[in-house]
């Protein structure tokens, strides 16, 4: 009896659904009318000793365009050597260097278990004459903000024999640059994390900062401690 009731119920359900002459798919307008990413074909030069990308594997990421539109779930890689964001178009499997001026921010998801936020900032170059737009990782944002440019630089070159052929390879390695944004919107730049060099940047608050470092047992040569220091400075030091 029970079996017949079930069977009857099933037949009713199937017949009701079969009468649906049109399968109603209600598309979300947001997923249909996304802004289009624009970029140039990326030819990946591989003659390097070292890794040119910040994330070796393609990461799922979101992009905030300069128009204020967010584009989600794209396969992305940040190239530290070129300071460019590379997009893998899964539709045609082309790799494209996205137009830098079109990108305000981007997020690389699940890089060693964390989401990494990059932002385009306008800073002076080392000569302090020319300004340039760079992508930098957002570490701290507040009165004092800390951005780290995940720069990869060529430090030399090597001749390598492969299959009896001599190749010239560039040696590349990570050379991060630390940009501290002051409340006045000016940027201070550090190429190496050294206690003395950092204190020199804030001559008037030197003692306060030194105290924070001492009290919290921070070794600012370590990036994590340096980030912690900037956070503590935001909380404790009157800037």
């Amino acid at each position: 009896m029970k079996r017949y009731i079930y069977l009857l119920l099933l037949i009713i359900c199937i017949s009701t659904n079969a009468q649906t002459n049109v399968v109603t798919i209600v598309p979300k307008v947001d997923s249909v009318f996304l802004s289009k990413l624009t970029g140039e074909f990326f030819y990946e030069k591989k003659q390097y000793i070292g890794e040119q990308f910040f994330n070796i594997d393609w990461a799922n990421g979101d992009i905030l365009l300069s128009t204020g539109v967010t584009i989600c779930n794209k396969s992305l890689k940040y190239n530290g050597l070129l300071d460019e964001l590379i997009w893998l178009n899964t539709f045609n499997f082309g790799k494209f260097k996205l137009d830098k001026s079109f990108i305000a921010e981007f997020w690389l998801k699940n890089i060693l278990g964390a989401d990494i936020h990059f932002k385009q900032i306008n800073v002076s170059d080392t000569s302090n004459i020319k300004r340039q737009c760079i992508f930098a990782e957002v570490k701290v944002e507040g009165k004092l903000s800390l951005y780290i440019q995940r720069k990869i630089s060529v430090i030399g070159s090597e001749n390598v024999y492969r299959n009896g052929v001599l190749y010239n390879y560039d040696d590349i390695q990570a050379t991060p640059r630390y940009y501290i944004k002051l409340p006045s919107n000016h940027y201070l730049m550090l190429t190496k994390l050294r206690r003395r060099a950092f204190l020199k940047l804030f001559p008037e608050k030197k003692k306060d900062i030194a105290k924070i470092i001492r009290v919290n047992h921070l070794n600012i040569k370590q990036e994590s401690d340096f980030v912690r220091l900037i956070e503590l400075m935001n909380n404790e030091v009157v800037l």
Partner: protein, 576 residues
């Protein structure tokens, strides 16, 4: 046996879930439109002041997620549209005015208000209202009116909440201040208020209370056959790609959209299995001429883009009319005279307060990267683009294949010319035929931008970009290819609102101050805690006036109430 039972149970659950999803899909995205107008009788040349409400069909509330675009159509008895306007809806509301052309013939007209999402349940869910328009110069007035037996919601005093309208007195003199109190509502509400001369001319429409209550019946009665996405981000351009020869729809055709600009711009949509494509038109496209073409349309193909008319009404309007307008003749003649006097004294010109619209349009640029710019004026004048390509554009070459010109870009990586076509723009518009630029020489071309690298625009890939800016807007003069089309995108209606005039502040108090519409406020906020007060002035027009309040509260309760006052020049001492 146990396994069989399990499979059986899973199938049963799946089928029940499918049924539930189908029911949900039918009601999702459905909306209710309600349009309040300041009056129901107009003289051609006057403005219709309106307030449009777009409510969610399920919650009956205004919603930020509701359609951002509303459509209003005014059509004559023969169902021919006389006016079509598009309005921007903000949080379920829009207001403004529509100027009725002086050339409208006298007769009964139907106002239809709807959103694109309302096409899903069917045209019967649209808001309909009948109004009467008389031509200013029509002296015969022998047009048909609605049968007097038809229901006139204007005359029924409906109250759902209790915003009872209280005036300081029932009878007023001319040019006298009227103070009106609206009793407090249960919660915050937004209402529109109109004070207009009463007429006995029949008009059929439902109040907001009736519209909201009746909507649930209509919304659930129809099944979705051709789904219209809610225009929650802006206007959506819908169309179909068809082969006119075989009458078959073309699937996966890439439709490109661009418009004349100094910046090359592009948007594209891919036709689905039914040949249907949809494009979101941002504010950027408002009032512009749209150039649509099909990417890589086969040679000698008979493909065509057919754009859906967003204002189209498939259902004909057949009102019951009769010639019994003798009783109303007096009112229409009076209205004509008032309009004539006001036009003569130019009293209406300062009545409209234009709405300021914050336009944040963003051009959908094709590229955001540096380009090589060549100015032909820097070189010896060259007669045509063939010469220009040879002489001053080293990365571009033009060849002739099978009698057709092809543009090719030099690819640095391949060290050869790429056989694939680059994206060619003329005055910002994606070019459908290279032949259109061949005859352009140094005299016509202002500048040429070239990107000699493979470019991606979304999922589309081009071998490069050649963007030509002409001196004399050459794109406007070109004829679209057979598979392309041009389309004028209408402007959003930004009509102004009525400014209440104090007759005692007029420069010349001797000029006639005659008004049939004494007050119109499309956005009156009722705070839900206190009475709301507003004031206006009577005019020299002696008549009975209706005070009509309609709107919706925050909890989705429709509000509809009306009252009346009389304006006369014989006021008793007790009234004063």
């Amino acid at each position: 046996m146990l396994l069989l039972k399990k499979i059986f149970f899973i199938i049963l659950v799946q089928q029940v879930a499918l049924m539930y999803c189908d029911i949900k899909a039918q009601t999702r995205g459905s909306e209710i439109a309600y349009l309040q107008t300041d009056r129901t009788v107009y003289i051609a040349g006057e403005s219709i002041y309106y307030k449009l409400y777009i409510l969610d069909a399920e919650t009956k509330k205004r919603s930020v997620q509701s359609s951002k675009v509303g459509y209003v159509v005014l059509r004559a008895v023969n169902s021919t549209p006389s006016l079509k306007i598009r309005v921007n809806v903000n949080e379920g509301m829009a207001n403004g005015s529509i100027v009725l052309p002086d050339t409208l013939t006298s007769g009964v007209y139907q106002v239809i208000a709807f959103t694109s999402a309302m096409r899903n349940p069917g045209e019967e869910s649209f808001f309909h209202k009948e109004i009467t328009i008389a031509n200013r110069f029509d002296k015969a007035l022998d047009f048909k009116l609605l049968e007097s037996g038809t229901k006139n919601s204007n005359l029924t005093h409906l109250q759902s909440l209790e915003p009872l309208i209280k005036t300081d007195k029932p009878v007023y003199g001319t040019r006298e201040k009227v103070i009106v109190h609206l009793a407090k509502t249960n919660c915050k509400a937004n209402v529109s208020v109109s004070v207009f001369e009463e007429s006995k001319i029949p008009s059929t429409y439902k109040s907001i209370v009736e519209t909201v209550n009746d909507s649930s019946v209509v919304q659930k009665s129809k099944r979705v056959s051709n789904y219209h996405s809610p225009e929650s981000k802006g206007k959506i351009l819908r169309g179909t790609v068809v082969d006119v020869k075989t009458k078959q729809t073309i699937k996966d055709a890439v439709v490109l959209l661009s418009c004349v600009d100094t910046i090359p711009n592009l948007q594209y949509a891919v036709a689905n299995s039914n040949g249907l494509f949809q494009m979101l038109l941002s504010d950027y496209y408002d009032g512009k001429e749209l150039f649509l073409t099909i990417k890589d349309a086969p040679e000698n193909s008979t493909w065509k883009i057919i754009i859906e008319d967003e204002f189209a009404q498939s259902e004909k309007w057949n009102p019951s009319l009769n010639y019994d307008n003798e009783n109303y003749r007096e009112f229409i003649v009076k209205s004509q005279n008032i309009v004539y006097i006001n036009k003569s004294y130019k009293l209406n010109e300062d009545a409209n307060e234009k709405q300021l619209i914050d336009v944040k349009s963003v051009c959908p640029q094709f590229y955001h990267s540096p380009v090589v710019t060549v100015l032909p004026s820097d070189f010896v004048p060259l007669p045509d683009f063939l010469e220009i390509a040879v002489e001053i554009l080293p990365q571009v070459r033009i060849i002739k294949e099978k009698g057709k010109y092809c543009v090719q870009i030099f690819n640095d990586l391949l060290r050869q010319y790429d056989r694939r076509s680059p994206a060619i723009f003329l005055d910002g518009v994606f070019l459908d035929d290279v032949d259109k630029i061949i005859l352009l020489g140094s005299e016509q071309i202002k500048k040429i931008d070239v990107i000699a690298a493979e470019r991606a625009f979304g999922d589309l890939v081009f071998s490069g970009v050649v963007s030509i800016t002409s001196k004399t807007n050459e794109m406007i003069n070109t004829k679209p290819a057979s598979y392309s089309m041009r389309l004028k995108n209408d402007n959003v209606n930004t009509g102004g609102n009525l400014v209440a005039v104090n007759p005692n502040t007029l420069h010349n108090p001797n000029i006639p101050f005659l008004k049939q519409l004494l007050y119109w406020n499309p956005n009156m906020e009722l705070n839900g805690t206190d009475d709301t007060k507003f004031e206006f002035y009577t005019s020299d027009n002696l008549a009975n006036y209706s005070i009509k309040v309609e709107g919706i509260s925050e909890d989705g309760t429709p509000i509809s109430a009306s009252s009346g006052i009389q304006v006369t020049n014989k006021i008793n001492s007790t009234d004063k």
